[in-house]
């Protein structure tokens, strides 16, 4: 029993409520959201260290015992995801000071960020399937509102697709929960796993497993369920795009990893093979989309999809090395992708647009921006010794070890195309001379200090993390391997939850 397991949930919720009540006072908002995100980060770091020390920890809410009450469970995967979310929250809160206008803030922008985090941490911590649905809804609803906040044309248009497809996903998820409860009579994930592992005919639940696969693949933006993402992610303010890009799809990936390592492991030969196929197709179609685009945030949006493919590849291969690769990939990707979207936001600030046709000359204009773009971009493409390389390397090795040549070839070629489209942004926005007669169109109306602190500050912070993951990757690998080990032994999880 760890009563403090509740803090990563309570802190965002309370901060969110307080922020909404003080929404008219911008100063209060700023300090409150900074404080909230720092405390959130602290609480999730404490969790991570506790889990590192004590292994999986649980909390029975309302003091009702395990399969009956709702369990909060924190294993390494949850703790890692939580820490990453908290880092991103902090970064986004700071970056929002630069890129989000006051009218949005007065309508509860900051409050919504924390409501979103409430849903996200809930999703990472819960050990109950229906509860997971509720957290997904909290997260989705908050993201819906953040998506439309401001009510611009493109935002509404993107949101229509985002909302509709995600709602279909929720319905499918809910049906899956209902059907699984009908078969197994329980909702607790550990209990489900324990009961299924004893059941000889348990492969018969694979049909409902597919409902979960579809539902979570929609959230994770895997093929052929990703269409909402490129339609919407580039429409809200840069800070919101960055937040979504870094975190939201990863919650879907988390859910997939969770249930396909814990619950649905009866029929790995077919279910995980399907995941692998989906992974390959996701990589390919995502990267093709990226190659076809000519706008920074759209290119980056499509890359989210193709990289979701890599994360699923590890799950599909389902070995210790492969899962460790996926986890490493997630850690690296959340940091790097957020950073790239932040860069895109600054490009937009400089040029009034992030359309590559209208940009240029940034290599000379802002060497710092060039640097903060180049490192994450190369990392994303898997160039050594940056963080993305290690992730890619591990996955490729895992694939080669299993002799899954087609997925290895796909992953390698896709990474080449990723490199290609990163150089497209580099070449067009940074190297190419700016075509406008005045050089840089808008000499940024925001004051310089604001740009440095709220814009470059978070970018350099994330960049440092990327470099640390890349250059000192050993502890991260150990973490990833330990996490993978936990995931491959669901009995640890089951024991931790159901022990009397």
């Amino acid at each position: 029993m760890m009563p403090e397991l509740i803090f990563p949930l309570l802190i965002p919720l309370l901060t969110g409520i307080l922020l909404f009540m003080s929404r008219k006072y911008l100063r209060v908002q700023t300090s409150l959201s900074l404080a909230g995100s720092l405390i959130f980060l602290a609480s999730s770091l404490i969790l991570l260290f506790t889990v590192l020390e004590k292994d999986i920890i649980t909390l029975q809410l309302g003091n009702w015992p395990a399969p009956f009450g709702i369990t909060l469970v924190c294993d390494l995967l949850s703790a890692i995801m939580l820490v990453l979310s908290a880092i991103i929250t902090l970064v986004i809160v700071i970056y929002s000071l630069l890129t989000v206008d006051d009218s949005r803030k007065k309508y509860g922008y900051f409050s919504l960020i924390f409501m979103l985090m409430f849903g996200i941490s809930g999703s990472f911590l819960t050990g109950d399937l229906f509860n997971l649905y509720v957290w997904f809804e909290v997260m989705l609803m908050a993201s819906f509102v953040l998506m439309v906040l401001g009510g611009e044309r493109a935002q509404l248009e993107g949101a229509v697709k985002y909302v509709s497809l995600n709602l279909i996903g929720s319905f499918i998820f809910l049906s899956g929960v209902g059907i699984l409860y009908g078969k197994m009579g329980t909702l607790n994930m550990a209990d489900l796993a324990a009961k299924l592992s004893l059941e000889p005919g348990s492969a018969l639940v694979s049909s409902s497993a597919m409902l979960f696969l579809v539902a979570f693949s929609i959230k994770a933006a895997a093929f052929p369920f990703y269409f909402w993402l490129p339609a919407s992610y580039h429409t809200p303010p840069a800070a919101v795009s960055a937040l979504f890009a870094g975190l939201l799809t990863k919650v879907g990936v988390y859910a997939l990893i969770r249930i396909f390592t814990l619950i649905f492991i009866q029929d790995i030969a077919s279910t995980h093979q399907i995941i692998l196929v989906i992974a390959g197709l996701t990589m390919i179609f995502g990267v093709l989309g990226a190659a076809s685009q000519f706008e920074v945030r759209r290119i980056l949006s499509f890359h989210i999809i193709s990289q979701i493919g890599y994360m699923l590849m590890g799950l599909g291969l389902f070995t210790s090395l492969a899962l460790a690769g996926s986890i490493f990939y997630i850690m690296h990707h959340i940091i790097v992708k957020t950073n790239l979207f932040l860069t895109a936001g600054v490009i937009q600030l400089f040029h009034g647009s992030s359309d590559l046709k209208k940009t240029g000359g940034l290599f000379r204009k802002s060497p710092l921006l060039a640097f903060t773009f180049l490192i994450p971009a190369l990392s994303l493409a898997g160039i050594p010794p940056l963080s993305g390389f290690w992730a890619k390397f591990t996955l490729i090795k895992a694939g080669l070890d299993l002799n899954s040549m087609w997925i290895v070839v796909t992953a390698l070629l896709v990474s080449l195309v990723t490199l290609y489209s990163m150089t497209k942004i580099w070449s067009e926005a940074f190297w190419k001379p700016h075509s406008g007669n005045s050089g840089i169109t808008s000499e940024v109306s925001t004051p310089r200090w604001k740009l440095n602190i709220a814009g470059f500050g978070p970018m350099i912070f994330l960049l440092t993390i990327t470099l640390i993951i890349g250059l000192f990757s050993e502890p991260f690998f150990q973490l990833a391997f330990r996490t993978a080990e936990q995931l491959l032994h669901p009995e640890y999880y089951i024991d931790a939850v159901l022990r009397k």
Binding site: P3, L10, L13, I17, F20, M21, L61, G62, N63
Partner: protein, 139 residues
Amino acid sequence: MYPLIFRITSRYLLPIFLLFSLIVLYQGHNAPGGGFIGGLLAATAFIMSALAYGGKTARKKLKFNPATLVMLGLLTAVFSGILSLLKGDPFLTGLWIHIHLPLIGELHLGTPLLFDLGIFLTVIGITLWISFGLLEENE
């Protein structure tokens, strides 16, 4: 525009509805009802009267901001859960006081009821917030 009969009914029905909804809220732990149903009932009553008077008038009559009600409700619900933390129990553990009343019998008061009150307030607030917004949009 607004039929007189509608207006009169809503004027006299509103207090009755509200009282009824409170009863439903309280009874909910032992009979069908509870925070959701109670809240929805109360909100429906307000909406009826809003339909009669129009959104702005109804909002004025309400004397408080639905948004505040929502946040108040949420805070109540969270607060009811946090109480148990102080005692060292997990979040949302029910704390109960048992009062023996001579006429009514055993009375159980506990944080889950407070939680239900939070739901009640939130549901009223949200429903009104949304429908007043849409009503005003129509005016």
